[in-house]
Symmetry: C3
Subunit: 348 residues, 3 copies
């Protein structure tokens, strides 16, 4: 006699964790600690929101073991409450079913192969000899270049552009405005003018990759730009030609990666960080948001380099000394040597 | 016996200010101090351009009271000359009239409601059950998702994307390439892989909002991302899921705001600034361009944190000391304590 | 009895350099030192890749004179091996031929002029009185505004937007998602609200300009935003209203330039740099990636200002002192004056 949603007990059976409270509670949706009501599962992962746990009206909550007694709501004590929550969410919110077919306003060029189970939206263009895999969906206004390939079960939102000869693997999610395979930025100086280097590589994207809105990934100059399996890219990221992004690396919004840089596997790059070209980042490196990585990083670890903000007047007083740091250090050395009198002249 | 344009006297009657000189001068357009000619109104707001006031050939100028005698052109002494100029410009350059109708190449899905006074451009897609308000205009190639809403008198330029269930209020202006409602960047770690968290919130945008070209605003994970009334967003801004941007806040180009951050009302965020996630910015905070705001800001004021640039060699000499600052400070302390001899060893 | 490709001897005759080895080697393509095989030309320009020269299996290599004996492959000793390589690449990879014609799904508004030799892709819109020059190509989904102009031999990739009245010169390359001519970010404060300043200038782009994917160039407020001949812009660049970018300047990805700033000719701006508004940058200025240029730069040279990254704990220890630099400098001065005892109190 199933009601709507899923029994809390069943969720624990499927996804693990220790259940405290009524296993018959039915979960129909998800919510935040602050706003969830009966029937909704909430979670506590970020300690910032701990204060909201006591007062939550959620039907059930997922909590870490440290908070097992911080509420008397039905609860799941999970090693990783966020992962528990994510799994429940995946079950309650599966992607919409694919309605196969090619919209009459779409243009399928000759030689293109669109799987019968794929869905091609209005005003799409599928270029010559391009391939769209089984159950793949293209939102309105997508453009696939000649000989490009989109793998099975991949979903392109509206207005995604894939240039000629680029490949996207299976189960990708690509958001609107993303541009895959535009020319890399390659020019030679030629007597004061710039001579364009034809960009004859492509972009090769693995399986299970997500690409955010308005993110751009340039095609390689000679060889391919490569995005390995499981990489997650947020919005407005720029990846230069011939970069390689290692499997299962996640990159937050507004990051720029200059050409020919290799990022390892399982890295996390914070928002608005930037990576110079022609460098190599080891596996499992974490870069703090806003940090400029200007040299290769050989060891896993957390790296940062952000100018600390403060009130403008204070910043301004301190910043003048940033430009005199070497001189200040010389003055300290002179003091240490006991000849301070020479140090002061015009340096301040 | 009206000529073309508007009498200077009438402009002052409508918009305030003190008129010095001939009220019968007719203003037909606007120009810069440097290039305006007869019939054009110029203004002085930025003191940088003060030197151009004496030589201007503008038909009239709007000036602050400090400059009332700095020219003998017909002039309007205004408390805020830029505002006076803006008001005149609004009158002389109203938005183009809306020519109602749905272009034959546009696709209107079932259940969508397009107001008869609205204008839908070529190759647009209006999704199922979407609503387009009175006198709203969609430029070529816009895509509105299922159940999305665009309010009265809003104008979307070419190639704007609005995902399912997102709402834009009245009198919005949205520029090309903007993406409203793509998935927020939410993943849980799952044994070295990333498990996507379905993003089931939406984006809710108030009235009188302007959104720049290629700006992206992500949909919420559980609840909505909210842009309040009167917010002005420049180009290439990224706003993460579940942010709230307070009314009448203006954000310049290339700013990134990570998820779940709340920005107050009447704030001004300078270009290329970045805001960390899960923080709160008070009302009336001003952030200097290029500043990374990594913690909550509780008090109104101006905040900055930008590395001062200089010639490369000098930067390079000084920057090595940024990485030895704590050590340098220890050396100063030792000197203060009188045991400098211990300080020098290997720190330089 | 010509085989495929081009004789190495002929390439040297056309593009200069000193040939060492067999002039009859035929070059059919290009490759990297590491992966090139027979028939492919590789090059060494970046000393980073020098180690790969000895082991290369390339059919021929272009090298600087310093490396003339570092390989015994057929080779061209060139003053600028990268330029030699670029020239060969241009010859081997010419742009694809233009297939003239207007796709039946494209919309050409009244008064527009499309040259008979031009190619207009599917779902394009060419606005009223717009002009598309000889042999120009528009990829799928491009939108040209009213009275806009695209010069001869220019190539717009898929989904490029050009607003009303904007001009692109000859031989331009514009990548997908670029937006030319959206409104500049101009508002006047009006009692706590923002009053929009109509942006009545346009964008004027010279000849031989390349514009990267998702780059945005705003129209001027009163006068035009100007991009001079030969400028090369990478992806995701934002150029504010009324900027002028001097001829043959190259700007890397993710750079933001605020309004009314003038950049000189032959400049190179590194990725993710940002330039404040209302400043002037001299000719031949080089800005390091990630640098914030907050004042005018009057002299050619290389400028930098990037916070050096390090491991997070070390950064964190040092960064607290950035906010106490002025105080630290005062303490040093007191030590120099011999009254250090006063210095220590509450400053640490």
């Amino acid at each position: 006699m199933a009601g709507p949603g899923i029994r809390l007990g069943e969720l624990v059976e499927r996804f693990g964790g220790e259940l405290l409270g009524d296993p018959e509670v039915r979960i129909v949706g998800l919510g935040t600690l602050r706003n969830a009501g009966p029937g909704q599962l909430a979670f506590l992962a970020n300690p910032r929101y701990r204060g909201e746990l006591a007062a939550t009206r959620a039907g059930a909550v997922a909590v870490p073991s440290s908070e097992r007694d911080a509420t008397d709501r039905p609860r799941v004590v999970a090693r990783d409450p966020y992962l528990f929550f994510a799994r429940v969410s995946s079950v309650l919110h599966p992607p919409p079913p694919v309605v196969p077919g090619v919209h009459p306003t779409a243009v399928i060029e000759r030689g293109a192969h669109v799987a019968p189970s794929a869905a091609i939206g209005p005003h799409c263009v599928v270029g010559e000899d391009a391939v769209v895999g089984e159950r793949a969906t293209l939102g309105p206004g997508c453009s696939l270049g000649r000989e490009s390939r989109v793998g099975n079960d991949s979903r392109l939102a509206a207005r995604v552009t894939v240039y000629d000869s680029c490949t996207i693997g299976a189960r990708a999610i690509v958001h609107s405005g993303a541009v895959i395979g535009a020319d890399g930025f390659g020019f030679a100086q030629d007597g004061g003018r710039w001579l364009k280097i034809p960009q004859v590589g492509a972009v090769c994207i693995g399986d299970d990759v997500e690409i955010g809105a308005n993110t751009t990934i340039d095609r390689g100059a000679l060889e391919d730009t490569v995005i390995e399996d499981g990489v997650k890219l947020d919005n407005q990221i720029q990846i230069g030609h011939n970069c390689r992004i290692g499997a299962h690396t996640a990159i937050a919004g507004c990051v720029g990666i200059a050409g020919s840089t290799t990022v390892g596997r399982h890295c996390m790059i914070g928002g608005a960080a930037m990576l110079s070209g022609h460098i190599t980042i080891a596996d499992r490196v974490v870069v703090a948001g806003g940090t400029a990585i200007t040299r290769s990083v050989a060891k896993p670890g957390v790296y940062a380099g952000v100018y600390p903000f403060e009130e403008n007047a204070a910043w301004s007083r301190n910043a003048v000394w940033v430009r005199k740091l070497a001189a200040l250090a010389r003055r300290v050395r002179r003091l240490e040597r006991g000849d301070a009198a020479l140090g002061e002249e015009d340096e301040e």
